[in-house]
Each structure stands twice: as C-alpha cells, then as structure tokens.
C-alpha cells in the first residue's frame, strides 16, 4: 500500500500538473538506463523504477509499461538492446525495438530475456494507468479508472478528488469518484457523514470499509456503519436470489439445448439415438474448425458456425439414419445399442483424426465478460447469449413443427405411421428430414456449448444421460415438456447446490427423476389415448 501511495503522489504530479499531453521524449540513453534498471532490479525495486518511468513524462512510457505488464518487454541477450515482443507464439518471436519501434523480425526465444513482471507489479501499473486515465477525454475510460480507484485512494489524491469531482461533467463518473472518496474517508478518517454515502452501495470495497468501521471503538460510527450494512445486506439478498435464479435458467437452457434435438429424434420418431452427444460434439468441433479457418475473427467464425454446425451434424445424423437406424425400425433397444456403437466410433474418430486433447475455442469479446446490473449482480454474457439462443432455437422448432408441411407430415407419421403412408406421405423421407433436423439441432447445441465448456472427444458423453433425463422427464414427443423439464431441472439443481454441494445436487436430481418416472411413467406431458398405450 505504502508504495502505491507514494506512487500516486508522483502520478498526481505527473498527470495533474503536467501541461497537457505535449509530445515529449527523454534521451535514448536515459530511456536505456530506465529500462536497464527495470530489467536488472528485483521485483521490490522494480516498483520504484516503474514510477520513475511513469513520471519521466516520456510519451513512450505508457507503451513500455503496458508491454511490461503484458510480459512483452524484453532484452536481447547478446546486444542488451531493449525490444517489445509482438508475437510470442512458437519458438521464434517477432519483436521490435523498444526505443525506435523498428521491426526486428523473428528472433529465437533462446536469445531473448523477457523482463519479469508479477501480479503485484501489474496492480501498480493498473493504478498508474487508472490515475492517468482520470484525465482522459474518453468518458468510459474515466469511468473504469474511477471505479478502479475505489479502495485504493491515497491521501494526496483524496485532497485533489473534490476538484476533480467538481470538474467532472459525467454524473456516473463523479458518483464513482464520490464513493471512492467516501470509502477513503470511512477507512482512514472514520467519517460518519461518509458512511451515509456508502449505505446502499453494493461495492465490495465499500462493504470492507464499513465492516472495518463496525469494528471501530467509536460507538456512533460503528452503529451508523452497522445500519448501512443492514441496508446493504437486504439488497444483497435480493441480488443473490436473482443470481441463483439466473444460474438455474442458464444451466436449464444448456440442458434444453442438449435435449431438444433428442426430443425430436426420440420423442417424435421413437429412435433412441445414443450418438446424440457425439452430434453435439461435432457441432462444437465445427465451431473450432471455423475459428481455425478465420483466424483473428472468432466472432464471425462463431456466427458462421451456427449454420455450419447445423449442417455438419444434420448430415452426420442422416448418414447414421440411413446406414444404421433404418435397418432397425421398430426395434428401439437394438437401435439404442447400435447408435451407442456409433457414438464410440465417432469419439475415437475425433481422437485419432483431430487429437485426444481439448481444442481451444476462443470466446469473442462481445460474448466474454458480464452484463453489470449493479455492482453485486452481473450476468455473464456468454450464458446470457446461450439462454437467448436456446429460446430462439426452441421457437424455431415450434414454428417448423406447427407451421410447416414437414411439421404436419412428422406429426401425422408419429400419430399413425401406416395411415400417414396410405395418405401418400413418404414416411422414409419424413424420417430422414426429421432425424436430420434433430441432429442439426444437436449441432447447434454443440456450437453453444463450445462457448461454455471443453471442446474435446468426451464432450458428448457428459450430456447424453442428462439429455435423456430431460426428454423423459418432460414427456416424450412434447417440445414444451422438454423446455419446461430442462429449465426446471436446471433451476432445481442450482437451488440444491448451495446446501447439498455440486455432486449431491446432481445425484438428488437423478434420484428425483427416477422416482418421478415411477409415479408418471410418461413424464410431465404424457401422450394419451389408445395409440399411446402399450
């Protein structure tokens, strides 16, 4: 802490008092010195050096520090020349000169000493950059900087903050700054007035400050802090409830995605497709493949892999249907075994052809991070998208089933195969299309899962049983049932998890399903009538 105080003092000097951002550079020799110092000193000493660099006022300083923080600042063993690493993959790295920014091409790793950095230093750097950013013209940058200040405000900075708040035109930024200041006041000065500002704040630093205040000897302060804490706790409870619900829904939507394809192949066609999980896996691998084809554009690749994943899985599914399943019409148990064999083959195929190792699927920026409702509740974006995606897919399937010719035929075939055939519906064609559809949806699930979990040969296995549970629980042949079952199972699981623990929760859910099936063998929404009876 001490150092960061001193540091932000220096920084205040450099950033508040420095006239504007005029172009200015120190002599190369001096730069060389600074960087050498950075390279040769221990982590402890490095902090001081970092500050010297920051306050050198050299406008390359920020670039150096950033590269340093990103572990990209290095020195050539031979010449002692300082370099910035542009790409550090493989055994030869492309680098440029730290001072002249001239590109030096590829250099073997053996000849480069990267200048070590650690978390502590990274914190310092963030501090520095944030204080610098308080002056930035860009509001968002100022906001993040202001937020970062919470809990790390120094005495000197505290003195300046009021005027900064005055000068600040953006309400949100000044609000953040005020809170940062209040936290400082409560922590350092035990200022009761400040406590009021903190009451209701969901920021963890604020809570920490209040907790500290509650422990203080000043009774009045302690009481005030306690009161503020209560109001916060109230809010937190709500937020956490909301959070759990969100977790439940997102887990549920994953289950729905995984199961909905099965609801079609199993529910509508009565085909037990044990290779369903592997079709999901194929979808996920398609995403990976797309990202390999379009390096540097993970987002685009992801979007493209939605149709691609659907196609790949659908084709694979149709292949399975033609080669195996059609020979086993009306022998569900044999179908189960055969498709299980197919699943083994597909897994091993992926292992041999691609690799037994998991593949890296990059999450595009617009999907990573989380949507901040408030400082205690933020919804992770990737799962938010998955929930949305699941609903869209579901709606799409509903449309196909209700509104299209295919849907009509499918329902006809399910109700009474012979009758449908005699009415001129090509049952075989319907089978192919239906199975293709179901498998394709599995592919979509894979695309979505690639953003949440491993993309590896075992991906499918971990979902197949859950999927079947969802379908059976929901009632075979009923898409709404599947949706409801998936979401409710997901939520139940998340509700149980806090007190039962992850494993027990899963076991309990399984047992619950088993018992439920005993009670209602045909699930939540059974098909009735003589046709349905054994």
């Amino acid at each position: 802490m001490g150092i960061s105080r001193l540091l932000s003092h220096l920084l205040l000097a450099c950033c508040v008092l420095w006239p504007g951002h005029a172009l200015s550079q120190v002599e190369d020799t001096e730069a060389q010195q600074l960087l050498t110092a950075l390279a040769d000193s221990s982590f402890a000493e490095k902090k001081a050096v970092v500050n010297r660099i920051a306050s050198s006022g050299d406008d390359r300083a920020r670039y150096w520090l950033e590269s340093f923080g990103a572990n990209k600042l290095g020195r050539l063993e031979a010449s002692g020349q300082f370099i910035i690493v542009l790409s550090n993959r493989g055994r030869n790295w492309t680098v440029e000169d730290a001072l002249t920014r001239e590109n030096l091409g590829e250099i073997s790793r053996r000849d480069i000493d990267t200048i070590r950095v650690n978390n502590a230093l990274r914190n310092e750097l963030e501090g520095i950059l944030s204080v610098i950013d308080l002056k930035s013209p860009d509001e968002d940058q100022r906001l993040t900087a202001a937020r970062a200040l919470k809990g790390s405000v120094s005495g000197t900075l505290a003195e300046r903050l009021p005027e900064l708040i005055e000068a600040e035109e953006s309400a949100s930024v000044s609000e953040a700054l005020t809170e940062a200041l209040a936290i400082y006041k409560v922590e350092e000065q035990g200022d009761i007035a400040a406590v009021a500002t903190l009451s209701g704040s969901l920021n963890s630093e604020a809570r920490a400050a209040l907790q500290q205040a509650m422990r203080s000897d000043d009774v009045a302060l302690a009481a005030a802090a306690a009161k503020a804490m209560d109001s916060i706790e109230q809010k937190l409870k709500l937020n956490r409830a909301a959070e759990t619900l969100y977790f439940g829904l997102s887990l549920g939507s994953v289950l729905v995605l995984a199961a909905i394809g099965l609801a079609i192949t199993f529910g509508v066609m009565g085909v037990i497709n044990m290779a369903h999980g592997e079709l999901i896996m194929l979808g996920a691998y398609t995403t990976w493949g797309m990202q390999q084809l379009l390096p540097g554009q993970p987002g685009l690749a992801l979007l493209l892999s939605i149709p691609a994943g659907f196609l790949v899985a659908a084709l694979a599914g149709i292949a399975i249907e033609r080669s195996v399943i059609q020979h086993l019409k009306g022998r569900p148990l044999e179908t189960l075994l055969a498709t299980f064999g197919v699943s083994l083959i597909l897994q091993q195929l992926v292992r041999t052809v691609i690799s037994p190792l998991n593949r890296t699927v990059i999450t595009p920026d617009w999907m990573s991070g989380s949507l901040m409702i408030n400082e205690a509740l933020s919804l992770t974006l990737n799962r938010l998208y998955v929930i949305g995606f699941a609903l869209v897919v579901f709606a799409g399937l509903m449309l196909i089933m209700r509104k299209t010719r295919l849907g009509l035929d499918v329902r006809a075939v399910t109700q009474n195969r012979a009758m449908a055939r005699s009415m001129g519906i090509k049952a075989t064609k319907v089978d192919i299309l239906t199975f293709g559809l179901g498998s394709g949806v599995a592919g979509l699930a894979g695309v979505a899962l690639s953003q949440i979990t491993n993309v590896g040969p075992n991906l499918g296995q971990s979902y197949i049983i859950d999927s079947f549970m969802v379908v059976v629980f929901g009632g075979v042949g009923n898409l709404w049932g599947t949706l409801l079952a998936g979401l409710s199972l997901g939520t139940i699981n998340q509700l149980l998890e806090p007190w039962a623990g992850a494993v027990l929760a899963k076991i309990l859910v399984l047992v619950l399903i088993i018992l439920f099936i005993q009670k209602r063998p045909r699930g939540l929404f059974p098909q009735k009538g003589r046709a349905a009876e054994g």
Binding site: K528, G529, R530, E533
Partner: protein, 274 residues
C-alpha cells in the same frame, strides 16, 4: 416332493398365502353390470354414459361402427383402461374398477383380443399350458409340474380347436385363423365365467366360421359370452340378443330383427352398409 420345493411352494407352507377367490355371486342379478361409464382421451369421449348388463349364461353380441367404443368397453371391463366416471360390477360382489387385470382375469373373465395375440415364441401346447387355470403366483409357477391330468385337459382343448398336429409347433407359424382358434382355446383353458370375444371370425374361412359359431353357442349357458363382431352374417347366425353401440353409448338393444328394423340403427349403422 422335495424339501426345497416344500419351501418354495409357499402357499403350502403358509396357508394364509393361498389365493382367496370368492365365487362370483349371481344369485340376484346379472353377471356383468356397467352403469353410467364414461371415458375420454384428450377430450374425445370414447365411452359416453354407457349402461350395459349381461345375464349369467347369456350370449350377447355387440355391434357398432368403428370408433363406437367396443374395444374401449372391453378395455374397461378387463381393467386395462380406467373410466373417468361410472361403475363396473362383476356379479354383485366384485367391483372391477378396484381390480388389476390379473385379478380380474383370475376372477373368471377371459378376453380374446381384436388382433389375435398369442405367444409366438412358445408352442401351441405351451400357450395353452400358460392359459390353464392354476395358481399363477411366482413361486408356484416356478415349481409347477406338468401333471398328467393337465396334459389330458390341454390335449382335449387342442383337439377342440383343431390344432392337434401342431401342438408342438411355435405359435408364430400359425395362420391368422389358427391363431384366432388358439386364442379361443386359451380362453377355454382359463375356464372363465365370462368370455369377452373381440371379432373372433376375422380372417376365417366359411367352415371355420361355422365351427366358431357352434363353439360359442355351445359355451353359452355354462358361461356368459360377449361377442363383438362386424360380420353381420355371423352375428345373425349366433345372436339371441344384440346391443348396438354408437359414439360410446347404447343406441339400441334387442333381437337381431328388432335392432335391424330400428330406424336409428339403420340411419347410423346398417344404413352405411345398405
């Protein structure tokens, strides 16, 4: 009988485990009695306030167009389908709605399905053996032994249903008509008080039909028989009393002539044929 068998054959060890089949009480009233029975599947009323009584020893034919609820009625009597409302009594003692299929069967109600269902993997002989009236609980069945008198009875029935030469052949290879007969034979083995026979002559030749007719009529009196049939000729040949079902309830009842002159019936049913 070996010790082991003594032990496994539990009803002989604990007599309270012995089956209690109280006889069907027909001293006052009919053997089968359905009142205000209704059942619906997904809104479609398959049976609608059906009232039906079968007297002891009666031979009753039930006719009606497709979807009139004939088979569903049988499902209800045999406990396969539970009605939404109404009551079903076997004699004046047994409320069938509280009983499971096996109970009902062992009370003495035998059923022949519309589509002949025999155990195709088993031989004709074995089919009849399984149908034979006996203690049908697990352990007695496990330790059951083919006694000579059982075989005589089976042979007798095999004779009756004209499958003597096929007694050792798997039922799967039988012709449709033969399966019908075998199933009827299985009914006989059960020695039921009440036979429910669903379309017995479907896919039979003329002679087969006649023999079936003889058989059924000969049964009547000793046992009560309910025949559901489409074939008007056949119905005429055996029917004493006919019930016409329509849209899940009784449309008309009486002798063949009465019903066939009934304007309602002509409209909804015979009308179609004529």
């Amino acid at each position: 009988m070996s010790i082991f068998q003594q032990l496994t054959n539990r009803d002989q060890v604990f007599d309270f485990l012995a089956p209690e089949v109280s006889p069907v009480d027909v001293r006052h009233g009919p053997i089968l009695y359905l009142e205000d029975v209704s059942v619906s599947f997904d809104g479609f009323k398959a049976i609608n306030n059906l009232n039906l009584t079968i007297d002891d020893g009666e031979l009753r034919c039930i006719i009606g167009p497709n979807g009139a609820g004939k088979t569903t009625m049988m499902d209800i009597i045999t406990g396969k389908t539970r009605p939404d409302t109404g009551s079903v009594w076997f004699g004046s003692r047994h409320n069938l709605l509280t009983k499971s299929e096996p109970d009902i069967a062992s009370l003495g109600i035998g059923r022949k399905f519309q589509k002949p269902t025999v155990f195709e993997a088993l031989t004709v002989f074995e089919n009849l053996e399984l149908a034979m009236a006996a203690d049908k609980r697990v352990f007695p069945t496990l330790t059951a032994i083919m006694k000579p008198e059982y075989r005589d009875r089976i042979d007798e029935v095999v004779q009756m249903i004209g499958l003597k030469d096929l007694r050792g052949a798997p039922a799967g290879i039988l012709s449709h008509g033969q399966k019908q007969w075998l199933e009827i034979g299985m009914l006989l083995m059960q020695r039921p008080r009440l036979l429910l026979v669903d379309e017995p002559v479907a896919g039979m030749t003329e002679q087969e039909m006649e023999r079936t007719a003889e058989l059924l009529t000969s049964l009547a009196g000793k046992q009560s028989v309910v025949v559901v049939e489409h074939d008007m000729g056949f119905v005429r040949s055996i029917a004493r009393k006919v019930t016409v079902l329509h849209q899940g309830s009784v449309l008309a009842e009486g002798t063949m002539d009465q019903v066939s002159n009934d304007p309602e019936v002509i409209k909804v049913y015979l009308g179609e044929e004529a």
